[in-house]
Subunit: 357 residues, 2 copies
């Protein structure tokens, strides 16, 4: 076992588009647990668009970037946790963490949650069976509330969250329409994820062209727009929204790297359509995780919902994995594997293929 | 009794700002009721900002503009209504109407509602005790849901709807802050309507200046923004919104006369604040009118809520009353009196002073 704990720190704040030199690798000793502490060996690290927003201020410089991690307890001096326990938590882009687990009422950075391999691949604890999955669930069912025969449009439709939104919409009896950033993603939406229609927003050079694409793919208008991107797609969706349309706002990727916000025209549509736009954060819904997990696990196990996860290898690949994801390079959820998965009975390299298939 | 029924028709569609020559007076004979019909003598005509939006397409050319009217049944061949009944309905900018009242399930243009003078001045049936009042109620209590100690900010704060929103916010134990378009209106907000603070948005030359005014008047941030105007004020309010803020969107006056929508920047705040923006139309809530009326009447009767109504005289004054209202010339609700009020025991001229005080 290595005695070096390699981590990725925020080296400088990006000006506009994030580049790999915003990050720096640091090497520190593998920690030992003090009284009441746990040391976690990291297995899978999350790579998420929302991190970009935090790089502008929330994340401190020269500290390991805090992200969701699936790991295994390597040493414990805490009564709740034992060596070998599979866990997830908000630990960071590094190979090991020392945690002093607190009660449930305290900040998320001090918490560990158990990971049950019976629910599915353990890496899913930071994707389909974790925050991205619950985000898609809450946004679709609590805020979007699609009814049979309605049309649900989702942007970033092949992504970690969007790929589930489209499938949830169809489970609710609605028509699912997606936009994504390449022909390959559009094909993935329709062929793998079961969208009724999808289009490549990069082929649309204007808001008018986006409206045209929406009119073609959503002939009965849009009842729910699940917004992952903001900007021109939001503007076009508001124009195509039906009366009493719902717009859960989950992310605004198009805004994260653009300090010069051009604004969204046509907000009069919110009034004219008597629409409801609701921004939400899954952090406000974490308490729902235990009750939701078995249901979501069953949907995946039965094949009624599929999930595509892309697994990169090694802590050193994190900056590139993150930067290229923001540029639209991923299909589905992207994770970085930094340790052998004890549940896969295989090495990191082959377990990655299994998780990504 | 005159045999001429003077009305105001839409003569042409406005290009941008509406002008008086968009309208034309027409003279027609006073109608007679056919079988199942009622003839209504008009007493008070409504003058509302939302009409501006309909002038661009919804209202047909060369027809009398449909607005809410308080009137009295002059002749009836319908079993439900008798001569002398006080009524209100969506009749039009004219002195007389012939109506074939239908059942409750049909379009509003065929309906008459009774007006109970015991509830308050009968002109209030198209203002504080009618759609503007119910609009303020639904927007504040159903959508804004202010809690004690929260801050409610409302634009067009001295207007027909806004002047009630501020008072409703205070009834709910919240702090009320308003913006309006003149020093006189700001003084009216604070001195007459009981706002905790108010500011003149015309003194704010930029979104930044509006944000500054909001930071000064709302030191704890904005929990509810009741939007009557859209545009820069909406943008500034989103920036000052607290987490879980609510934004009922009732109107966007600033957009009605501006075909070149500059857009609203900073929609990322909807996400960052986990805010909910909801456009609504009172037409979707008309069924609540009977249950709400006695409660609202009691608030006015007891003086817990005050209402300022400005009464213009004569059908010929309608175009100017409407155009100058859109330019911000009114304080409170503006109506045009076109017949003697049988409940006031006075002529039109003196009843106007009573209603407006």
């Amino acid at each position: 076992v290595s005695t070096v704990n390699t981590g990725v720190v925020l080296a400088r704040r990006p000006a506009g588009r994030v580049t790999e030199d915003c990050f720096r690798l640091v090497e520190r000793p593998v920690p030992e647990p003090g009284p009441g502490e746990v040391v976690v060996r990291h297995l899978y690290l999350s790579v998420d668009p929302y991190l970009r927003g935090r790089m502008d201020g929330a994340f401190p410089l020269d500290e390991v970037v805090q992200v969701r991690v699936v790991g295994q307890v390597a040493a414990s001096r805490h009564e709740r946790w034992s060596e070998g326990d599979l866990v997830w938590g908000f630990l960071g882009w590094q190979e090991w963490s020392r945690v002093r687990p607190s009660g449930e009422a305290v900040g998320i950075e001090d918490r560990l949650w158990p990971v049950d391999p019976a629910h599915g691949p353990i890496a899913y604890a930071i994707s389909a069976l974790g925050m991205p999955g619950l985000t898609a669930w809450v946004g679709t069912f609590d805020l979007g509330r699609p009814e049979p025969g309605e049309t649900v449009f989702v942007s970033a439709a092949a992504g970690a969250v969007g790929s589930l939104v489209g499938q949830f919409a169809r489970l609710a009896g609605a028509r699912a329409v997606g936009s994504a950033g390449s022909a390959a993603k559009v094909a993935h939406c329709v062929d793998v994820l079961g969208y009724d229609a999808a289009f490549d927003y990069r082929e649309c050079r204007s808001v008018g062209a986006l409206v045209e694409a929406l009119r073609t793919t959503c002939p009965d208008g849009v009842d729910v727009y699940f917004d992952n991107v903001g900007g021109p797609t939001l503007e076009a969706a508001l124009r195509c929204l039906n009366a009493f349309g719902r717009v859960p706002v989950c992310g605004m990727i198009s805004r994260y790297e653009d300090p010069d916000d051009p604004g969204v025209k046509g907000l009069i549509n919110v009034l004219a359509k008597r629409a409801t736009m609701t921004g939400f954060s899954i952090y406000d819904h974490l308490h729902r995780l235990p009750g939701w997990l078995p249901r979501m696990a069953e949907l995946l196990r039965s094949g009624r919902v599929v999930y595509h996860q892309e697994t990169w290898q090694g802590i050193g690949s994190v900056p590139e994995a993150f930067v290229s994801m923001l540029a639209g390079g991923n299909v589905g959820k992207r994770v970085v594997q930094v340790g052998d998965d004890p549940t896969s009975g295989s090495t990191a390299a082959t377990s990655s293929a299994a998780a990504g298939s």
